[in-house]
């Protein structure tokens, strides 16, 4: 007789009411992380680094060692932890402001040095925590608190595509973009974060998983409409897929 599969709260997820909005990508990602922590049994070696942004309190939700970092500095903190204790498993969890705005230097250089840690980049196109301002990944024409008439590319530039940018570097091992736009996207995201942890365990190098997520609150749409928005408007600008999955030798060949 088949054993019943039980859908339960992962052990790595704490019994805490989260502050995330309905339809927020962070809630899904935290669960994905917690499931992976249980499945891979990595609580004893895992150190996570929380960003400044909506996920600043991530350490309240996950039952693992975690550190804060100043805004944008997660890759440097990760470098410090991983170089100091190479046996730990380190992940950085950053939003679009943290990684693609104030932290662009840090992520590029950590990637370029091939730092052996895993980055989860949550791209939801807006600054949630501070009230919905423009992010580097905000789409052209998108209205936000600092682009009331829509993002004008002639004065505010175009959205930054971090996977494509990092893909110009020799050192990274894994660069992939997924989307939390449905069950398939959620499964794909979990698969690639798992790959990111396994690759780190094998010392493969810098792993970068960009995850397109919803912010229904500051896109001012319902959670359902936000999923449609991801599929119809965001994905065309940020194509999902594997940009890099290779050793340094393969890239340099």
């Amino acid at each position: 007789m088949k054993k019943a599969r039980i859908f339960k709260k992962p052990d790595a997820m704490l019994e805490v009411d989260s502050h995330y909005c309905a339809g927020c990508g962070h809630g899904i990602l935290h669960r994905i992380l917690a499931e992976l922590i249980d499945e891979l049994d990595i609580r004893g070696s895992l150190v996570g680094i929380a960003p400044v942004g909506c996920a600043v309190l991530a350490y309240n939700y996950l039952d693992i060692d975690m550190s804060e970092a100043a805004h944008g500095r997660v890759p440097s903190v990760a470098t410090g932890i991983k170089r100091a204790r190479p046996d730990t498993l380190v992940f950085g969890y950053q939003g679009d402001g943290d990684l693609a705005s104030i932290g662009t230097a840090e992520i590029i250089h950590a990637a370029n040095r091939g730092e052996n840690y895993t980055t989860i980049f949550v791209n939801n196109g807006v600054y949630g925590m501070t009230g919905g301002q423009m992010a580097p990944t905000t789409l052209p024409g998108q209205r936000t608190a600092t682009t009331p008439n829509g993002r004008d590319t002639s004065t505010m530039g175009f959205p930054l595509r971090m996977c494509e940018l990092l893909n110009t570097l020799e050192s990274p091992y894994l660069i992939v973009r997924t989307a939390l736009d449905g069950p398939a996207g959620i499964r794909s995201t979990k698969k690639w974060i798992r790959e990111g942890f396994l690759a780190q365990m094998e010392g493969k190098g810098f792993c970068f998983i960009e995850v397109l997520a919803s912010c229904p609150t500051y896109c001012r749409i319902s959670p359902e409409a936000a999923l449609e928005y991801l599929k119809k408007e965001v994905k065309p600008f940020f194509p999902t897929g594997v940009f890099r999955l290779a050793s340094k030798e393969a890239v340099n060949a």
Binding site: V47, T88, A105
Partner: protein, 357 residues
């Protein structure tokens, strides 16, 4: 261990750090401390320890944050403009109660300034260049030997009190060469250090998780955290204040100076005493905690003070605070990388004495 070395002050800092068991060094090139980054690049790798040239001073101080949170002994170094960049990180280190050693080899400022020695970062170092209520222990060496000794001491203080400790030197001390007598790290001192049972190692064997943070948004948790820090700083003021007296016992005019300027003032006092002039020198060794009580006591029996700095006058404010108007406090300074000559300090001091006598 070699008996004596002839090396630069910057390299002496490196030698002291390595003897102190520095696990990780994160730095960035900037004059006049490049001898230290080069020394660490060579010797840390030779010792199979961690050396990273970061992409910026900002990144370096955050690498320090990471390695410290993982429980390792960690150091970074820079000079004035680069230390400005580190201020956010230092505030975070202090707020998160993380040990770290930060070396500032001061140069002329403000802005890009020049590469000559200066003491114009006193305010930044001692009054907290970063945001919020916090203190950093600040040690002021005035010889190559002290660059070595105080760096070793800095690691112990940082671990003992879980806070950043700064060694405040300048371009002259950093690049001059003097004999250094290396000494072994004290096992007794190491044994007194508390275990790092707060460090992030992965939650092994089912132990409760640990969090390193300085964010306390709930209710009055941040106020309580600040009170805890304030209590720690008060204890450090009681236990770790250090200063050196040179002919202050019967002095009428006491010079107050630290670092390079203290070396010059010592010579001023020596010449003065040869001429039977009652001068003395009080040399603060810890700039924070500041030896205010010692100065206050001196103020009870001397005729006045002359504070000498390579700045527009920064430490002089703390001297005046301690003296509290009881006797005159004069100031002599050189700015923008200017280094005073012994003669010019001596003339000023002698003039002050003559005016009082």
């Amino acid at each position: 261990m070699q008996k004596r070395l002839l090396i630069t002050g910057n390299e002496a800092v490196g030698a002291g750090a390595i003897e102190a068991g520095c696990d990780c060094y994160f730095g960035y090139p900037i004059t006049p401390q490049n001898e230290l980054t080069a020394y660490m690049a060579l010797h840390m790798l030779a010792e199979k320890r961690v050396f990273v040239q970061a992409e910026s001073e900002v990144s370096a101080i955050n690498m320090v944050y990471g390695a410290s949170s993982a429980g390792c002994r960690v150091m970074t170094s820079s000079s004035s403009p680069g230390v400005s960049l580190k201020q956010e990180g230092i505030s975070y280190l202090a707020g998160s109660e993380l040990p770290a050693v930060i070396i500032n080899v001061q140069r002329g400022g403000p802005g890009l300034g020049n590469i000559e020695p200066s003491q114009a970062d006193y305010f930044q170092a001692v009054k907290g260049g970063g945001h919020g209520d916090y203190c950093v222990i600040v040690l002021a060496p005035s010889s190559v030997q002290e660059m070595y000794d105080f760096t070793m001491k800095a690691f112990d203080l940082a671990d003992l009190y879980r806070m950043p400790v700064m060694v405040l030197s300048d371009g002259r001390l950093g690049q001059m060469m003097e004999p250094l007598k290396p000494k072994k790290r004290s096992k007794a001192a190491a044994a007194k250090l508390p275990p790092k049972d707060w460090s992030l190692t992965g939650a092994k064997d089912g132990r409760p998780k640990r969090v390193v943070k300085s964010f306390f948004p709930a209710d009055d948790t941040l106020e309580k955290h600040n009170q805890k820090l304030a209590a720690k700083y008060k204890m450090i003021q009681r236990k770790q204040t250090r200063a050196e007296d040179y002919f202050t016992e019967d002095a009428e005019l006491v010079l107050v100076a630290y670092g390079t300027v203290a070396r010059l003032c010592r010579e001023v006092v020596r010449r003065a005493r040869k001429k039977k002039l009652p001068m003395g020198l009080l040399r603060p060794i810890t700039l924070w905690p500041f030896p205010g009580t010692r100065i206050k006591r001196l103020a009870g029996r001397v005729k006045g003070f002359l504070v000498v700095e390579m700045s527009a006058g920064q430490m002089v404010e703390d001297v005046r605070l301690a003296v509290n108007g009881t006797v005159p406090v004069a100031f002599y300074g050189r700015m923008g990388g200017g280094v005073p000559e012994i003669d010019e300090i001596y003339r000023r001091a002698r003039k002050l004495l003559k005016e009082k006598l």
